[in-house]
Subunit: 397 residues, 2 copies
Amino acid sequence: MAVDLPLGFEFAGAACGIKKVAGREDISLVVCRGGAVAAGVYTTNRVFAAPVAVDRQRTPSHEIRVVVTNSGNANACTGERGLRDAQEMTRLAAAAVDAAPEQALVMSTGVIGEFLPMEKVAAGIAQAAKQLAAHEDAFMEAVRGIMTTDRGPKIAFRQLSLSGREVRLAGMTKGAGMIGPKMATMLAIITTDAALTPEQAQASLAAAVEESFNAISVEGHMSTNDTALLLASGAAGGEALANQDLQTFQRALTELCIELAKQIPDDGEGATHLIAIEVRGCDTNADAQLIARTIANSALVKTAVHGGDPNWGRIVSAAGYAGVAFDPAQVSLRVNGHLLYEHGAPVAFNAKTVSEAIKSQRETHLRLQVGPGAGASRHWTSDLTTDYVNFNALYTT
Amino acid sequence: MAVDLPLGFEFAGAACGIKKVAGREDISLVVCRGGAVAAGVYTTNRVFAAPVAVDRQRTPSHEIRVVVTNSGNANACTGERGLRDAQEMTRLAAAAVDAAPEQALVMSTGVIGEFLPMEKVAAGIAQAAKQLAAHEDAFMEAVRGIMTTDRGPKIAFRQLSLSGREVRLAGMTKGAGMIGPKMATMLAIITTDAALTPEQAQASLAAAVEESFNAISVEGHMSTNDTALLLASGAAGGEALANQDLQTFQRALTELCIELAKQIPDDGEGATHLIAIEVRGCDTNADAQLIARTIANSALVKTAVHGGDPNWGRIVSAAGYAGVAFDPAQVSLRVNGHLLYEHGAPVAFNAKTVSEAIKSQRETHLRLQVGPGAGASRHWTSDLTTDYVNFNALYTT
């Protein structure tokens, strides 16, 4: 990597045997010994996992010193015992870096409904704590420690100058299945050395998530564990950001989150295409996102893209059941720039050319103009393939 | 068939070349020369097909004499020209049986976004009109004329005695893909010789559809063409049904519609399982249906059933994002009678036994107890297989 990591953080990953494949990292530590301002955004699923319950009570915070994550087990649907296990994880991680338990956050991802093997978890935390370091190899170990079915690490970086002071952001995320309709079976940790108040951190993260992790899906199944955390060490120096600097930081954070978020459906289980859906001309951005998400969740749209089939009827009809009022006679659709449907009627087009345009590119771009309004939104999803079905028909057994 | 068809109706089907396979019926006529009371329930998709626009204006009615249906082309997303074509279909069908155009209804199903080949349609209607008959072979021809990707005909019959008078119902439906969240790419015609007023017919049909065609899905994609029609000839004699007789008729109609509706996901494209989802203990029936439908639309639930995988976490987590408030600690789940999750915590069970129970039966039964409420509902869907993906990746090209 040719990037500088944010100042004030140490990272580590360790393999403790939660994952079935030996030697695969399944514990990850992100540490800020000086104490970081921390914000969190979580799944809105009513069935939420134990670590989500713990972190919700502890963010926003002005002093978080460690985030411990395990992969391979989601600690979800595990009742009272799961809650005690999540709290014990924060106690163990905090003790390893001389912090108080309430200065620790916890995340889990993996299979739902099994109890955590706490002896292994404890050994993994102890091992990782010995390896903590601020260099890139340690960062990548921590990234691998949060991965599940991901084919590779998902990371993004930004560096910007705010009132002459260099500020760095580093983000990691994971997720490939059980993604959507809001957030995903995804975890994300964004570290920065910018100085932020807890309120600023929370507001900035919430705004960034809305346009990124809340605008992606794989199959539209909302997970129990989704968590995005922002940790700000303030080690870049200076007072909490204000005015123009705060806006610049917000833009960089949103762009970084979008760059991270798009990697999730691009790596969607079995995916051969990343589908970028742009909806314009609605009354509100929320209406546009609802239509984009409904198109994204249609198995018929996703299989059509997989087959390189310019089957625009599936796209237009999906928009029609999103629950948003619009005049069908005003709708137009472009696929990879080709106009297929205009003002509510079919347009003659060369199906072979459009099919080839879909098949030859990893990203398929759908652009739906719904009416004359100013509301617009984007959503990213993956196509639906036989590999997705085979993979998920055989996941736990 | 060992059943009597309702009195007062004639049926016919003909092959006119709309479908690509030569000789496959693609025009269907259902005729009531004496004039039938007619009711209709239609897709709620904002992008609705031309025949839906025509029929909506003509039902409920006290005098419909013919229903003409074509398969192989949905006449959807076809703008003004599509609307003129649908009206022309009713004019041609009405003329063939000496009726006025407004005494005809029309339905279309098949590919979206192509204009109807009206010369073929006209020839098909003329051919079918010559073959009209009241016997079973003619009924089955009409059934085949509304089929698209269905593997076989979907029919159901009832016969009941109301105040000593024999009354018959005969239903036909079609649909295998683009099914749900409400109604489906499905058409249904239920004929009866009971005497009903237009208001009774409309109310009876609406109530029956709510528990049947509105409670099924394949992949949750709401179609542009969904139509269910009830035609009552009154040929069984007597005045319009009243009191106990009307209630008995309603029960028979609802049961017949459920029997028809379940055949659709059972024949879902590529399906190897019919999944019956029963949700109990909600505040309202509508809440229960919302949870059942959300579980039904989860690709992760559908692939798990396909794989014979008792992955109950996917089912419980899907319930959690249905948008219905409940206490996760009160939730219990049974799969094919086996208790897998009780009061918010996992139950030890033999995974092999439950997996075998799923694999060895065509129907998988999920029963979710959400709380202590009286609201309950049922929903039927199909599993998600590689055959579904292959089929839909290659449908139009």
